[in-house]
């Protein structure tokens, strides 16, 4: 008996399991980055919001400049600047409610600061006196994350947990263009979509992963196109247009909050400074490119919009800058003080209760420090 005979008549049906599921069309991003400033959409933007964004951009720029200066003075071990990316940083912070969570990467101290974290605490990691300088629960800002894309599953898990608990909490997780190549990006996106977790994945595509340009990072039509492969919407936005970034993120946050699941937002922006102060950007890009982006500066774009529409005048500009100077001055003053360090902290938080081994080691270090303090002899070594 042939298989055919066994199973009876032939039915030219498609495979039984197959059912077209989500329609991919609404998941696909626009063809070009969404813009608000300088377009008709700007008229609909809330003037108060635009002014708030402006003030924060000016503050953010000044913060970046101050932090960069502090590296030159040896007050910070390293600083990955977000100069040029302030619109993304600020919008990410402002778009969230107090109960929401922000998951920043090493480059996103400004977002943390804009959300309310004390700048000195935000910079602790980069000053080098401890890893995380702030209590993540105070402002619901996860520790600055250095291993690329590893913060993304954390955001998914937290958002999922909040939903399980019935809490109205959205998590917004930031990652760079380079970070999208990591396996953890993929796994986080997939978990979020399957769980319909209230997460917004926010990619700042600043054109480079250290020296590697986007073209060597991906062949995708855009990073936002990755969303469709997970069954979530992808959105593409001009990352230097603070109003556009805020609007797109706000929509994604609303969508997540309403139970609609995650969104992937790609903001096209540019890293004006080198990767960090330790990097030499002239090795991999020309001045012309940087200059072109300076013409597309986020503060420039917003300032133009606001002044043209009479929402900002010289006084307003001055006020914003004074506020920024206050921040910078305070930061400078406090960062110029040496942090108070207790070497015993090395052992205090490895475990809930230290193991006997750690207690022994703690005693050893204490004895060494006591000896150092006592005699001038040991100090030399």
């Amino acid at each position: 008996m042939t298989v055919m005979e066994q199973r009876g008549a032939y039915r030219p049906t498609p495979p039984p399991a197959w059912q077209p599921r989500t329609d991919p069309a609404p998941l696909l991003p626009d063809e070009r980055p969404y813009r608000v400033l300088g377009t008709e959409a700007a008229a609909k933007a809330d003037p108060e919001l635009l002014r708030r964004l402006y003030a924060q951009l000016v503050r953010g720029r000044r913060y970046n400049a101050q932090a960069t200066t502090l590296t030159k003075q040896g007050r910070l071990a390293v600083y990955p600047s977000s100069t040029g990316q302030e619109a993304c940083q600020v919008a990410a912070a402002l778009v969230l409610q107090e109960r929401d969570w922000l998951f920043p990467s090493y480059r996103d101290t400004l977002a943390a600061v804009a959300r309310g974290v004390d700048p000195v605490e935000a910079l602790t990691l980069l000053r080098g006196d401890w890893h995380t300088g702030y209590d993540p629960y105070t402002h619901r800002v996860a520790p600055l994350c250095t291993p690329l894309a590893t913060q993304l599953p954390h955001a998914v898990g937290l958002a999922h947990a909040a939903r399980l608990r019935g809490d109205d909490v959205v998590a917004l997780a930031m990652v760079g263009d380079g970070g999208t190549s990591e396996g953890d990006f993929h796994e986080a996106m997939n978990f979020a979509a399957v769980w319909q977790a209230p997460v917004v994945f926010f990619v700042q595509n600043n054109g480079f992963a250290i020296s590697v340009p986007l073209a060597k990072q991906t062949a995708a039509p855009s990073l936002a196109h990755k969303a469709v492969g997970y069954g979530m919407p992808g959105r593409l936005v001009d990352g230097n247009d603070a109003a556009a970034v805020h609007e797109v993120l706000a929509e994604a946050v609303r969508h997540a909050r309403a139970g609609g699941g995650p969104t992937l937002v790609e903001a096209v922006t540019y890293r004006i400074e080198a990767h960090t102060n330790a990097d030499d950007a002239t090795r991999y890009r020309g001045d012309a490119e940087v200059e072109a982006w300076r013409d597309h500066d986020p503060i420039l774009l917003l300032e133009r919009e606001l002044t043209e529409r009479g929402l900002l005048d010289e006084d307003g500009i001055r006020a914003a800058r004074e506020d920024a100077e206050t921040l910078a001055g305070d930061l400078r003053a406090r960062m110029n003080q040496d942090p108070v360090l207790d070497p015993m902290d090395l052992f205090a938080h490895v475990y809930d209760r230290p193991t006997t081994q750690l207690l022994e080691q703690e005693n050893q270090l204490r004895a060494e420090l006591d000896a150092e303090a006592d005699g001038p002899e040991g100090a030399g070594r």
Binding site: P147, H154, V156, G157, A159, H349, Y351
Partner: protein, 334 residues
């Protein structure tokens, strides 16, 4: 005093019971992993939990270990107590970065503000005829990572007690379940399971005076068997079951070796760079003048885990243990 009805139970059953009791006692305990829900896990350790507590408390995840552990980190950040299952030892490796760079360090990184009460269950070790990648002993990686607890039960009662303690711990625990002991039976009362075992205490499984066998997990029964066999040679061997590599119970181990003056460390993981080196070194540091012979090690060979038909040549067995005991320089005695 009431007598408790002890019935034989398997280690797998005790683990299931521990999960169930923990979930019942604390609504923040969530089980997650590949096939843990509907199927009840490939070793059936999570059997029935999804039914009893719902899919949200016992969740079949997508197939991605870094994603599983990474999302569990986020859940723990929010106050849940995730209990993650890695399907097999070697399939925990994709989650290694999350484990080392986040799980082990989050508390320390945040000065204690953000502890991660996470349990990572890993069916581990060989002896079950598994094809490649199904029999690794990976504890050396975990014990070399400060911030993790590394626990491995060897008895049915400990499987229950230590898993409860792991889940209750505010620190991340890598909980290594010896695959070949899943079906080992013991008299154990599932209706009145033993109290939660504190993590970090070794236990003397068999007292003896001639030498100490220091071991854990899957090698404990082998050592007990060796100790029985050793009586024929006139050796009275003490068997110490470490129960956790981190924290390490120096006190119990040191006391035993100081008493016996001789020691052999036995484990199934590769010898070179394996836990035995650490154990032998620290025992020697603490017991040097009590030692009649160097602390010897009986371990898996320094090879990738063998195919099923050859694994018996790799695994430390009674003969190899007795052989090592025989090399503990008994001449001085006679």
């Amino acid at each position: 005093m009431t007598t408790v009805a002890l019935k034989p139970a398997t280690m797998a059953q005790a683990l299931t019971r521990a999960l169930r009791d923990a979930m019942a006692a604390d609504p923040s305990v969530h089980v997650m992993g590949e096939d843990v829900g509907t199927l009840g896990g490939v070793f059936r350790v999570t059997d029935g939990l999804a039914k009893e507590f719902g899919d949200d408390r016992c969740t079949d995840t997508p197939l991605a270990e870094a994603g599983i552990l990474g999302t569990a980190v986020g859940m723990a950040m929010y106050g849940l107590r995730p209990v993650v299952e890695m399907q097999f030892d070697a399939f925990a490796y994709p989650a290694f970065e999350q484990l080392v760079s986040h799980v082990a360090r989050m508390r320390n990184r945040t000065r204690g503000a953000m502890p991660l009460p996470l349990t990572i269950r890993v069916p581990y070790g060989g002896g079950i005829g598994g094809v490649e990648h199904h029999s690794d002993s990976s504890e050396a990686y975990y014990m070399a990572t400060p911030g993790l607890h590394v626990v491995m039960p060897a008895t049915v009662a400990d499987a229950y007690g230590l898993l409860r303690a792991a889940i209750a711990s505010d620190d991340p625990v890598v909980f290594l379940e010896p695959k070949r002991l899943y079906w080992s039976k013991d008299s154990w009362n599932p209706d009145e399971p033993e109290t939660v075992e504190p993590i970090g205490r070794a236990v003397v499984r068999r007292p003896g005076r001639s030498a100490t066998l220091i071991t854990y997990g899957p090698s404990v029964p082998v050592c007990l068997e060796a100790a029985e066999a050793a009586r024929a040679e006139g050796w009275d061997l003490e068997v110490v079951d470490l129960r956790s590599l981190v924290p390490f119970d120096d006190e119990t181990v040191t006391a035993s070796v100081r008493r016996t003056g001789r020691a052999v460390v036995v484990h199934e993981s590769n010898g070179f760079g394996g836990p035995g080196g650490e154990i032998a070194a620290r025992v020697t540091e603490r017991c040097f003048h009590y030692l009649e012979a160097p602390v010897l090690r009986v371990a898996g060979f320094d090879i990738p885990y063998p195919p099923p038909m050859l694994e018996r040549h790799h695994l430390p067995g009674v003969d190899r243990i007795l052989d090592a005991v025989g090399r503990l320089q008994w001449e001085a005695e006679s």
